[in-house]
Subunit: 171 residues, 2 copies
DNA sequence: TGCCAACCGGGGCGTGCGTTCCGTATCGTC
DNA sequence: GACGATACGGAACGCACGCCCCGGTTGGCA
């Protein structure tokens, strides 16, 4: 690859990182190109589609989260809650994570799979109510993350959801 | 008003009711016009803007909800929970209610005001945690209602949120 | 029944966005 | 230093949508 091509690719990625975090997936691609001091055509030389660029930006971050979720824990309930807390912390500051669950990419599936594993483990340990499914939980977290981007108090919202998730069998 | 004008107005309102409920505010106005067997221009003869049509459709339903919320209750906690439950029940079937909180209309403000009153009453009665604000609660409900439109189990989601809202001072 | 005002339909305008195309500039090699 | 391949940039296309305009039509009153 030519030197300036690599430089431009990096500039595009950085601009996309910033703007996806600020405004989510809905940010116009032309705006990303403008911040990268590059024409829109150049963006498309490096990424075939807007979704591909979005995936490239969110990939490593989401992959890291999923990796930590995969480690076995001796307290499955706490593991799930910690994971959800990490998601919420990110979503409170950046707008792209909640879109990463929505925009159809490979990441979305693996994210859901990771949550599903954590959830069933926590349910088998009796820490989380048994009548919720992975689909329910993902939808709930998605709504929660969207709520956080509207001036609501992220900490309180997360506490409410986590407490609501706890198994009712617990005293 | 001429007879056919009234007839068309009614057809537009009915089509809008159906489509806003099915697809939310994002449904194209041309589609509403098509289902009403009417041109787009006719829609604009009766309603100056798309938002006005949306408001006309959601008005009476939301107003009814707010009216019941205004009645004083001797169990403020139950009153709030009942109100939220009613919201969730509607949102589980129709997509327009969650947009009614989002789309800037008069309804949105009065909806938020009604929730605010119910919330502070419930908090003073000790039924709901004191550290949540009306803004938080509205955002939370909005996210919850959006979650419900993605195949999640509405009943479980509502239970989780309601339980999370309960005051931690309670045993 | 005839006339005029009210109303209808749908083509069209402006806008915003994702995506593509192509003439031009730049890089890297011989 | 020149040449070919590669990459650039931004103008332009296609599409979708909210909204407006205008020639034609229809309804109701005299």
């Amino acid at each position: 690859m030519r030197a300036d091509a690599a430089r431009n690719r990096a500039k595009v990625l950085e601009a996309a990182r910033e703007l996806f975090a600020e405004q989510g997936f809905e940010v116009p691609l032309d705006e990303i190109a403008a911040r990268a001091e590059v024409g829109p055509g150049t963006v498309y030389r490096h990424f075939p589609t807007k979704q591909a660029l979005f995936q490239a930006v969110t990939e490593e971050r989401v992959a890291a989260m999923i990796a930590t979720a995969g480690e076995p824990s001796n307290d499955p309930g706490a593991a799930l809650f910690a994971f959800l807390g990490r998601m919420a912390d990110e979503a409170a500051v950046k707008r792209d994570l909640s879109d990463a669950i929505t925009v159809p990419t490979e990441l979305r599936k693996s994210m859901q799979a990771a949550i599903g594993t954590l959830l069933t483990d926590a349910q088998q340990a009796g820490a989380v109510r048994a009548d919720i499914t992975a689909v329910d939980l993902v939808a709930l977290m998605k709504g929660l993350m969207q709520s956080m981007q509207e001036g609501a108090n992220p900490q309180v919202l997360l506490e409410i959801v986590l407490r609501g998730l706890q198994s009712s069998r617990k005293p």
